[in-house]
């Protein structure tokens, strides 16, 4: 049975079709939740934002013009809400202990290194990236967004997308170096 396209679902949602909303929600609920969680690093906040994102989609489906993919539109809404949430609670973002406990059960970099677990060190360093870098790393590596998609979601030129990803990786390299893992440049 062919899958209904996102665009068709949005058109149906614009007419108040709740079943279409449930289907779209089923497709994007977890990816959006994980994206938002990577940014805000708080499961409760991420879950609240997740439902807020889809409430906006329900309300604004009629305004979707199809200039970008539906998923790009959804993630741009999610990003906007996550950034707002971060601005409302800047101190919480600095709480690495809480972030690590919520986001992953990875050891801290020092412990991981002591265990000689390079992958665990890498995970711990990924968690330490800034919100801007976490965002782009998640979009590229986990959400599998193209350069064009990321540009649409983040609202920056494609060339900037590439350099921002490069600098995110460069920062990651620096964090690894601090943990005694020298991988070269970047």
């Amino acid at each position: 049975m062919p899958t209904t396209s996102d665009e068709v679902l949005i058109a149906r949602i614009a007419k108040g079709d709740r079943l279409a909303m449930e289907e779209l929600y089923g497709r994007y609920r977890v990816p959006v939740y994980r994206f938002v969680l990577r940014m805000v690093r708080n499961a409760t906040t991420a879950e609240d934002l997740d439902s807020d994102v889809f409430l906006d989609i329900w309300r604004q489906a009629g305004t979707f013009e199809g200039r970008s993919a539906v998923s790009t539109w959804i993630f741009s809404i999610a990003r906007f809400k996550a950034l707002n949430a971060l601005q409302r609670r800047p101190m919480e973002e600095l709480d690495d202990e809480k972030a690590g406990a919520i986001e992953d059960q990875a050891d801290d970099p020092e412990t991981a290194l002591a265990k000689k677990d390079k992958a665990a060190v890498l995970r711990a360093c990924l968690l330490k990236l800034s919100a801007e870098h976490r965002e782009i790393v998640n979009l590229v590596y986990y959400q599998h967004k193209s350069v064009e998609d990321v540009a649409g979601i983040v609202g920056i030129p494609e060339a900037t997308v590439k350099t921002r990803m490069f600098y995110a990786r460069k920062k990651l390299s620096e964090l690894l170096t601090e943990q005694g893992i020298e991988r070269g440049w970047p």
């Binding site: 709740r18 929600y25 439902s51 890498l122 990924l126 968690l127 193209s146 490069f166 990786r169 070269g184």
Partner: protein, 223 residues
């Protein structure tokens, strides 16, 4: 690797993350593949890109899924919103805008005032039409008679393109004309000239009189 190269990553190097994620277009993928095959240092760095992708996936998957509270919250909020109305009622403004947007610029060019008058009358007409669709026999606007297609005498007319707003307003006022439809693509309006059905000679006389009006460019009787 030299410093100059470090400050300016090559385009191929910038594309490595997307190559690992499989989101490059075929042409770029081929370029990256060729570069990796010919540059062992680049290939070595690519192994780190792959490791990053694997661990970002691990981190994201380890985050699990929402508890389910979000589902309840979302649909409770949706249910709490006013039910969406049908297009015929909620998009009245949009429908009027659509209708007006379909008019040719030339049609509207003769005067802003004439257009405004037409819009007011047509909006009333459309509002009455839409509301009647929704609620037959119910509310009707005061600006337009209920029997626009029934009793009454009508003409088709086109205003002079150069007629001023004041001219048009004056004609509509002094002749007691009511625009009930249009303009068509040719700029013709359907106008009611009398509330009852006039005898043909009487209607012809009215048309003849109006035809002499310098504001009116064309006029003809119609059913």
């Amino acid at each position: 690797m030299n410093t100059a190269k470090q400050s300016e990553p090559s385009e191929i190097e910038l594309l490595l993350p997307w190559y690992a994620a499989g989101t490059l277009d075929p042409r770029e993928s081929l370029q990256v593949e060729a570069a990796l095959a010919n540059d062992p240092e680049l290939a070595s760095r690519y192994e780190w890109v792959r490791a990053e992708l694997a661990q970002e996936t691990h981190v994201s998957e380890a985050a699990g899924e929402p508890s389910g509270r979000d589902v309840k919250t979302l649909f409770a909020k949706i249910d709490a919103l006013p039910a969406r109305k049908s297009r015929s009622s909620i998009d009245l403004g949009a429908r009027i805008a659509e209708f007006l947007a379909s008019l040719s610029p030339r049609t509207l060019a003769w005067s802003a005032m004439a257009a405004a008058l037409a819009i007011v009358l047509q909006a009333g007409f459309l509002a009455g039409f839409v509301l009647k669709e929704k609620n037959p026999g119910g509310y009707e606007t005061a600006s337009v008679p209920a029997d626009v297609s029934g009793e009454g005498s009508y003409v088709l007319l086109r205003f002079q393109p150069k007629a001023s707003a004041a001219d048009v307003a004056s004609v509509l006022e002094t002749t007691k004309l009511s625009i009930v439809g249009g303009p068509s693509a040719g700029g013709l309006y359907r106008v009611r000239v009398a509330p009852t059905k006039l005898a043909k000679p009487d209607l012809t006389r009215i048309v003849s009189t109006l035809q002499d009006n310098k504001v009116i460019g064309f006029i003809a009787a119609t059913e």
